[in-house]
């Protein structure tokens, strides 16, 4: 996995442009810019516009952030306001090296 190590593919599912959804987008952007600058791709999917995407990914709660890559796949539910939890979900919370991606 050497070459692609550290490349993050993130999908954020929201239900319409609600304050909660917008908050999740802003929170995710902020975390990615500080923790994953330059090595992430982020996609926002509005399930109202694309219910099939929610069906395929078996989403029931929104916002849901799915870390599709690197494996393992992880789901983080909520407006991502708790940064520590988001970092745990993204496997970015190594205590000795908070910026490390050695688990990837």
């Amino acid at each position: 996995m050497g070459a692609i190590m550290g490349k993050y593919l993130l999908r954020l599912y929201i239900t319409g442009r609600t304050p909660q959804g917008n908050r999740a987008i802003a929170n995710l952007q902020r975390i990615c810019q500080t923790e994953l600058a330059g090595r992430y791709e982020m996609e926002v999917i509005d399930v109202i516009e694309d219910p099939q995407a929610a069906e395929d990914a078996r989403i029931i709660a929104t916002p849901t952030l799915i870390k599709a890559l690197p494996p393992p796949l992880r789901r983080i539910i909520g407006d991502l306001s708790n940064k520590e939890k988001v970092l745990i979900g993204l496997d970015l919370s190594g205590p000795e090296d908070p910026n490390g991606d050695q688990h990837g």
Partner: protein
């Protein structure tokens, strides 16, 4: 004068679940959500799936199944054993799954506030896609255990229920209970989700499992009250037995039919009534099976069809018994006038026996039904369950305008009552007692018509004999008292005369 306020009336959607629509008085409230609450193993998921299956099979109404617990694949496999081909319905666009079951292996981290907006969107999309009339959601408890924040889950389930209402679909939601009798559901779901509550129970009663359902409330509309037994048939699913919902609206026939024994007919005032139920009670070996055999033969002589449900002896034994009394069961069967169904009572629960008997009646369409013996069925049930069984069977037989003859075995040889008799005597139209009578060191048999609803009848206790041609009823026992109590006592003729005068002529008292 004040105009009465016109309230919007609640219409019902027939579920199509056998027997349920009787206790729901037409079904479940249409366009609303009904909570189906039950303990583990109370058939909630089957009810939910059957609600959709019957909609497709009987009413051509499409359905959406939202599953929080088992995967769609598991549900397809589980209900396949009930004969429902969910995959075929999915292919035909009649059934859609919204699979909201947890994904194996994926871990969920919660960070901040969330809602179940995606779920509502998916349900709405599925309802639109198949044009659903019905939605089943199984189960709410799984949602609560999935997301820790109970406040959010409550609010979101309320939103889902409102969304379902907005779509105009009729839905059922299942929820867990921890006890058969106690709070309606865990997490108090019923308080915010729904105005309509149905409870499924699976109670252990005298070492037997007994399934019942109860409509606790249908807001704004009527339903039958109390618990109704139900069973799950392998190729049919849930079958509810709507006992007290049975109305006493049978027409009473004045047509007489023969009991198969001319002397007994005479004692009954000219035979049994066409749509009556007769109980024949007696100790073992004193002529009950003979009575039912003659009942069948009497029908055959008139070209009538008889169904014999045998719970004590095999078909061959019964046939041999009958030939010993000059009745040829083999010939009756060949002529299509008799069907013998021998079942071991322990082979199934009472509800299943009831459904089996009903099916046999529906398919064979007999004019007469004999059950030999009813007491054998008592062994496999609680007293309450047995009584309900007899009420239901009796009512069914009467509705079909069939004559039914049930036999019951008494525990003691002389006199006494059978348990069966005690519990069902008020339900039957006629009771015939067969008794052993010990007189001067000899065992004789006695017969009396204890009750004959709607007709005069012979009140004597008559002696009868059995030979190779059947039963022969003779003269009344004279000068004997205490036969029914099991303590026959010879009374000298002079004493009888004196007792007779005692009542006929009060003036004689002064002597």
């Amino acid at each position: 004068m004040v105009e009465p306020v016109k309230l919007p009336s609640v219409t019902k959607l027939p579920t199509g679940i056998d027997g349920f629509d009787h206790i729901g008085l037409g079904g479940i409230p249409a366009g609303r959500t009904t909570l189906v609450a039950g303990t583990a193993g109370s058939a909630k998921t089957i009810f939910a799936a059957q609600f959709l299956a019957e909609g497709i099979r009987q009413y051509d109404q499409a359905g959406v199944f939202v599953t929080f617990e088992e995967s769609g694949e598991d549900i397809r496999a589980n209900v396949g054993s009930l004969g429902w081909d969910v995959a075929a319905w999915e292919a035909a666009g009649k059934w859609a799954f919204v699979d909201a079951a947890p994904q194996p292996g994926d871990e969920v981290v919660v960070s901040g506030a969330f809602d179940l907006g995606a779920l509502v969107v998916r349900v709405e999309a599925a309802v639109r896609r198949v044009g659903a009339t019905r939605v089943a959601i199984d189960s709410l408890g799984a949602v609560f255990s999935r997301f820790e924040n109970e406040v959010i889950v409550r609010a979101e389930l309320f939103r889902l229920a409102s969304a379902l209402k907005g779509m105009g679909v009729t839905s059922v939601m299942t929820a867990e209970r921890t006890h058969e009798y106690g709070e309606i559901s865990r997490h108090g779901v019923e308080e915010f989700v729904t105005d309509n509550v149905l409870i499924l129970r699976n109670v252990l009663e005298g070492e037997k499992r007994r399934r019942t359902m109860e409509v606790l409330k249908f807001r704004g509309t009527v339903h039958q009250k109390g618990e109704y037994p139900f069973t799950i048939m392998p190729d049919q699913g849930i079958v509810v037995i709507p006992l007290s919902a049975i109305e006493l609206d049978q027409r009473s026939s004045y047509t007489r039919i023969t009991s198969g024994n001319a002397e007994l007919d005479a004692m009954c005032g000219g035979g049994f009534f066409r749509d009556s139920v007769i109980l024949v009670s007696g100790a073992t070996g004193c002529g009950k099976t003979l009575t039912s055999t003659e009942f069948i033969a009497g029908g055959v002589a008139q070209g009538e069809r008889s169904l014999l449900m045998a719970f004590e002896e095999s078909r061959d034994q019964l046939s041999r018994n009958a030939s010993g009394w000059g009745r040829d069961f083999d010939r009756y069967e060949r002529e299509g006038l008799l069907r013998v169904v021998a079942v071991y009572p322990e082979a199934a629960g009472l509800e299943d026996h009831l459904i089996r008997i009903k099916r046999e009646i529906d398919s064979f369409k007999p004019n007469r039904v004999a059950v030999d013996s009813l007491s054998a069925l008592e062994r496999v049930s609680s007293i309450k369950g047995f009584r309900e069984f007899v009420i239901s069977l009796t009512s069914f037989i009467k509705h079909k305008e069939i004559a039914g003859l049930f036999t019951a075995t008494t525990s003691s040889l002389m006199g006494g009552e059978s348990v069966t008799e005690t519990h069902i005597s008020t339900i039957t139209d006629a009771i015939i007692l067969l008794r052993y009578v010990e007189m001067f060191g000899e065992m004789k048999r006695g017969l009396t018509v204890l009750k004959m609803r709607g007709s005069a009848h012979d009140k004597d206790i008559r002696a009868f004999t059995i030979d190779g041609r059947g039963m022969h009823i003779g003269a009344p026992f004279r000068n004997v008292t205490g036969i029914l109590a099991g303590h026959p006592r010879h009374v000298p003729p002079a004493e009888i005369e004196r007792l007779g005068q005692l009542f006929s002529n009060e003036g004689a008292l002064g002597d």
